[in-house]
């Protein structure tokens, strides 16, 4: 009996997956985004094996080869101390993706839990406390506050991640809060309440699954946004510290060499655009996928 249920559930989920994929794949741009995103992720994971000069991502100087224009030996040229920009961009993706993963895995669960609690306990003191604090964090653009906090913590990747995470949970909190307040009067929540289910059960098993679609969509779009904020902070000089390659830092350094040695700024900048673009395309695809589902 149980096994049958499981099989049914599995096939159902497989069916809904293929249906979802069908909807997703109807937009060729989303598929393109997914392909780019996967290649970026794979490149980042296997950076030491893929990049032609992995040692150039670290403490390395070779002044004789500094400022070389793009060529077959150095696809993106070399920087002012002779490091291969292509290799550094590949490693730069690592830091960007790690940033996105860490920030979202810190901000999302905390935001979701707080949002669930605040949404469920409406008109209680706990809702007021959580949502007012959320308001405070949302009162200024995330970049501004993240900038202020990173500066005061002293600039490096870890602090950058902490600062951005601190800026990010309120967005999830507000999203899940509004979802929860509208869901909590639905019949299945009422039913669970009546059957005496625990609060944790109601929040996590009844309400949370219904928040998945919007949260997942937001997460994908946000990953791109987090990377933008991270790159912006590094551009100001508050990110990955040298010699490790931060994409924003590379753009900032390269900007000093414009226009003669344009490749130093242009390629890292394009690399940033590509990864954000792929996240956005995938996010839009997910939104289409879920939006059709809802109708």
């Amino acid at each position: 009996m149980k096994k049958e249920l499981l099989v049914a559930a599995l096939s159902r989920s497989r069916a809904s997956f293929s249906k979802g994929w069908y909807k997703f794949s109807r937009n060729p741009l989303s598929v393109l985004g997914l392909i780019i995103l996967f290649s970026v992720i794979l490149t980042a994971i296997f950076a030491p094996y893929i990049s032609p000069y992995p040692e150039h991502a670290g403490a390395f100087t070779n002044f004789r080869e500094s400022g070389l224009p793009p060529s077959l030996t150095h696809f993106f040229g070399t920087d002012s101390v002779g490091r291969d920009i292509f290799s550094r961009v590949i490693f730069g993706y690592r830091f960007s993706l790690v940033l996105a993963v860490v920030v979202l895995s810190l901000a999302m669960p905390s935001g979701i839990i707080l949002g669930l609690i605040a949404g469920y306990y409406r008109r209680r003191w706990i809702e007021i406390v959580i949502m007012r604090i959320t308001d405070i964090f949302l009162a200024v653009p995330p970049l501004v506050l993240a900038l202020a906090i990173t500066v005061m913590l002293s600039p490096n990747l870890f602090n950058q991640m902490m600062a951005i995470s601190l800026m990010w949970w309120p967005w999830y909190c507000r999203l899940v809060y509004s979802l929860t307040t509208s869901l909590r009067h639905e019949y299945f929540v009422r039913e669970a309440e009546l059957t005496g289910a625990s609060k944790a059960h109601i929040l996590l098993r009844e309400i949370l699954p219904n928040c998945v679609a919007p949260v997942l969509t937001k997460m994908t779009l946000d990953a791109g946004f987090v990377i933008t904020v991270g790159a912006s902070l590094s551009f100001i000089g508050l990110g990955v510290q040298p010699p490790r390659p931060g994409l924003g830092t590379m753009v900032a350094d390269g900007a000093k060499r414009l226009p003669a040695e344009w490749w130093m700024a242009v390629f890292p900048a394009l690399a940033i655009v590509i990864v954000i673009l792929s996240f956005n395309l995938v996010g839009d695809g997910l939104r289409d996928m879920f939006a059709v589902e809802e109708v």
Binding site: L147, I236, V266, I272, V273
Partner: protein, 339 residues
């Protein structure tokens, strides 16, 4: 409406209070010695100690906050440790430049975003629509500093079309300050040459700032135009002989503007934070560059002030957005006044 604004105001007062407490707390708790930073390396220990006392840095946190709040009520935001001037003086000096920049870029993004959005929505699935969608995808995905650098490389270094930095050419004499907006002030002073220069200088930074918003607004407008085009009233207007341009840019634009304007508050936030980077690239002597500078210099008073100013600006913009939306959309207006 008044009742609504008052309630918003009270709410924002609370938020700003919390914001100041937050940023104040972070600033005071973090490691590093602001007094030392302010006085530089040549200062003696005695000088540093005196300075700490003067700035109440030796007092416990609540006392410090109390002193800060007390002087805030007198309109005093303290002295900048970086420029050694009252923060309010700095703000007065730098805010107009940023306001001018954001205003111009706002107008740019509104006009271009709306027009492309309307056209893309009207001719949806045409080549124009496809192209504008592609560009808008890229526009949204490109961080402001990258846009700025691409623009600089293309328009300044390659085509030599626009100047690279500043509000005016370096040797130019700024117009007498009336509004602080160089272009406007120049026109008032009758210096059209300066005004043109100002326009030339503001073009690239404003365009760099506008790109993301153009993309975003274009997309939203396209969707809502496409949605509204299906509505009966468009057919009705057409049938009753109202010309197509009037339908498109009046009867359709107004309802389609509502979603665009509704996200304008968020768009402004983007624009303001993007200004942080764009002003750096273009050496725009504005508030955002000042903000970055004081942040990098751990200039406590200035940081708190800068964050609060942004909070206030954000709040004001949201209220304006609400008012504009309710002006555009009688449904909301009537709901609000009708109670």
């Amino acid at each position: 409406m008044a009742k609504y604004i008052i309630s918003r105001l009270l709410q924002s007062l609370f938020v700003l209070f919390g914001l100041s407490l937050l940023i104040f707390f972070i600033a005071r708790v973090m490691p590093g010695d602001p007094a030392r930073v302010a006085l530089g390396s040549l200062a003696t220990h005695e000088q540093v100690q005196n300075f700490r006392e003067e700035m109440h840095l030796d007092k416990p946190f609540p006392v410090q906050y109390y002193f800060w709040l007390r002087s805030l009520l007198r309109g005093d935001l303290g002295k900048s440790l970086y420029t050694r001037r009252p923060v309010t003086t700095d703000l007065k000096a730098y805010i107009p430049a940023t306001l001018e920049l954001i205003l111009i870029s706002f107008i740019m993004s509104l006009v271009i975003g709306q027009v492309t959005g309307v056209l893309a929505g009207y001719f949806r699935n045409s080549w124009f629509d496809g192209l504008s969608r592609l560009i808008s995808y890229i526009g949204v995905a490109t961080p402001a500093f990258a846009v700025a650098i691409f623009f600089l490389l293309f328009f300044t270094y390659t085509l030599n079309l626009a100047p690279a930095v500043g509000r005016l050419s370096l040797a130019a004499v700024p117009p007498p300050r009336i509004t602080g907006f160089f272009i406007l002030d120049s026109v008032i002073a009758g210096k059209f040459g300066t005004a043109l220069e100002g326009l030339k200088h503001i073009f690239l930074p404003a365009a760099s700032l506008a790109v993301a918003n153009i993309a975003q607004e274009g997309r939203i407008t396209r969707t809502s135009i496409a949605e509204n085009l299906q509505k009966d009233y468009v057919i009705a207007h057409t049938v009753y002989g109202i010309p197509r341009w009037s339908i498109l840019f009046k009867y359709l634009l107004r309802p389609s503007l509502i979603p665009t304007v509704s996200v304008m508050g968020l768009a402004f936030a983007y624009q303001l934070s993007n200004a942080f980077l764009v002003e750096l690239v273009f050496m725009w002597p504005g508030f955002s560059r000042y903000a970055v500078t004081v942040m990098l210099n751990k200039d406590l008073n200035a940081i708190v002030a800068v964050v609060l100013v942004i909070g206030v600006a954000f709040f004001l913009v949201n209220v304006i957005v609400d008012i504009v939306v309710s002006f555009l959309d009688p449904r909301i207006r009537l709901q609000r006044t009708g109670g």
